[in-house]
């Protein structure tokens, strides 16, 4: 396992495109997190011009709600597309450069090859979870008064939701990459599916009467997006009278993981059978 990781590190360490995309991802993520409150309050100001009773400004960085607010933003489709594209590139490169052939010729088994890519996905997910955990903790602590350890860690379980979303979206990307084998085609189809095909399907499958439990909940990408749902900002909850997600739901976590497991199985069977 360490050997496989060592090989993967060599493949990534001096790969410029990987670092450029990772950098863009970080900038996008950080800018989004740091500007979110400002942008929401801008919208609130805009709405207030037409409302008789003005809405109060929101604060999203205070503990413990900051865990959900930030993990929610970090798992929207516009943000998750970055790690997905990175994984697609890392996998389809092996087919473009035919290095998967060379790795197998040199004595790597096909199962080890899939496993090495899974390890990288796992590692990226763990690393990002740790980074986001630290970042969120710092933001939360600096915006909250009356700190206690219990307050800090309350709702930090949303980080587990972030980890599951990161892991599963990358497995979906791995699935596209291994089956299509072509970088451009994989990225195009993945993006098309994420931003057009599934939203359209979602729209038609969504039952107007049952908001929560339509078949649309089970669409693969939607399952990933629903792990951490739209945050319940307490002030808005009071005003609007709706309560959204309060903590992670086990079933919502299990659905994308089940999809990921099936996809890994399909990739495994396909790679075992197909010619390289």
């Amino acid at each position: 396992m360490i050997k496989l990781l060592k090989i993967e590190f060599k493949k990534i360490l001096t790969y410029k495109i990987f670092w450029i995309l990772t950098g863009l991802y970080f900038i996008f993520l950080a800018a989004g997190i740091l500007l979110a409150e400002f942008m929401i309050n801008n919208m609130v100001d805009g709405m207030n011009r037409h409302l008789p009773i003005p809405l109060p400004h929101v604060t999203i960085y205070f503990l413990p709600w900051v865990w959900q607010n930030i993990t929610y933003f970090a798992t929207i489709r516009y943000v998750l597309i970055f790690p997905a594209i990175i994984i697609i590139i890392l996998i389809t490169n092996e087919f473009t450069f035919k290095t998967i052939r060379q790795n197998v010729i040199n004595g790597m088994s096909r199962a080890e090859f899939i496993w090495s890519k899974m390890l990288i996905i796992l590692l990226i997910s763990v690393a990002m979870t740790i980074l986001l955990f630290l970042g969120t903790a710092i933001i939360g602590i600096s915006h909250t008064t009356g700190l206690t350890l219990a307050l800090i860690l309350e709702k930090s379980s949303f980080m587990a939701g972030f980890f599951i979303s990161m892991l599963t979206i990358q497995v979906y990307a791995l699935f596209f990459g291994f089956l299509l084998r072509n970088t451009g085609l994989s990225i195009a189809l993945f993006t098309l599916y994420s931003f057009i095909v599934e939203p359209v399907l979602y729209f038609f499958l969504k039952s107007p009467l049952v908001h929560e439990n339509g078949i649309s909940t089970y669409l693969p990408l939607n399952a990933v997006l629903r792990v951490v749902e739209y945050p319940s900002i307490p002030v808005l909850t009071k005003v609007m009278g709706i309560s959204l997600q309060d903590s992670l739901s086990l079933s919502a976590c299990a659905i994308p993981l089940a999809y990921a497991a099936v996809m890994i199985g399909i990739v495994y069977l396909a790679l075992m059978k197909k010619d390289l």
Binding site: I7, K11, F97, K98, R101, V104, G107, D275
Partner: protein, 298 residues
Amino acid sequence: METILSINRMSKSYGRIRAVKELDLTVKRGQVFGILGPNGSGKTTTLSVVLELIGADSGGFEWYGWPPSKESRKRIGSVIESPNFFPYLSAIVNLQIVADIKDLGYEDIDRVLQLTGLYERRNSRFKTFSFGMKQRLAIASALLGNPEVMILDEPTNGLDPQGIAQIRELILQVAAQGTTIILASHLLDEVQKICSHVAVLSKGVKLFEGMVSEVLSVSDSFELAAPDIESLISVIRRHPAFRSLTPGTDRIQVYFSTEVRPGELNMFCHAQGIILSHLSERKRSLEQHFLELLDQNL
């Protein structure tokens, strides 16, 4: 001699195209085994199957008498088709990845880079290499860790004449150390110069297998002349191994069905009262043999 690779009745089709048909092949330790055939004859398919890149439709193969595994592949150094490396990684890092996969240390990397003349460019990225240098890096990676077996698919493809000579010299050196080499080529000249054994493939069928020296020593025809050409012709027609002849104005070309030595032939003519004024043996070259074999099977 220990059997390194044995292929048994192996077949592989791509859709309706039969790439390899019921191929049997045995390579023993220390042989420099040439697989010779024109483009599309099934050479690369055969090598891809024994390296488990593609699956055979039927039949099988064994390395060292065992079913294939990743462990057997680690003991083989291979170059198949084009050189496949990460374009953005240096020669050294690309070879480190190969060493990692094969469970080798990095201490052999400098040696193989020097052998292939790439040491000066060891820190350059693969994509900056010329095609010839890429091909040499592929050979360097195959040499890594002194494997017991090397599989080389068109190893001199794309090299300049000097590069071709260097690589052939290198292969001969490696072979002299006792490494078993399996070399696929469409160049007869290459097989003739490098290989001890040869199998000729055409359209996925093995036409011929044997030692290169045997193929070369087969005497094919004699050019004969005598003062009386007419009686020479009538005498030679009575030779037990006679097959055919092409008459000329002052010389005739005679073909025999079995091997005939020049001395025997001279004695035979002399015993029949013919004094030969000219006798020269025409050895069949591998190329002629190859082309004949292909012709017969077209």
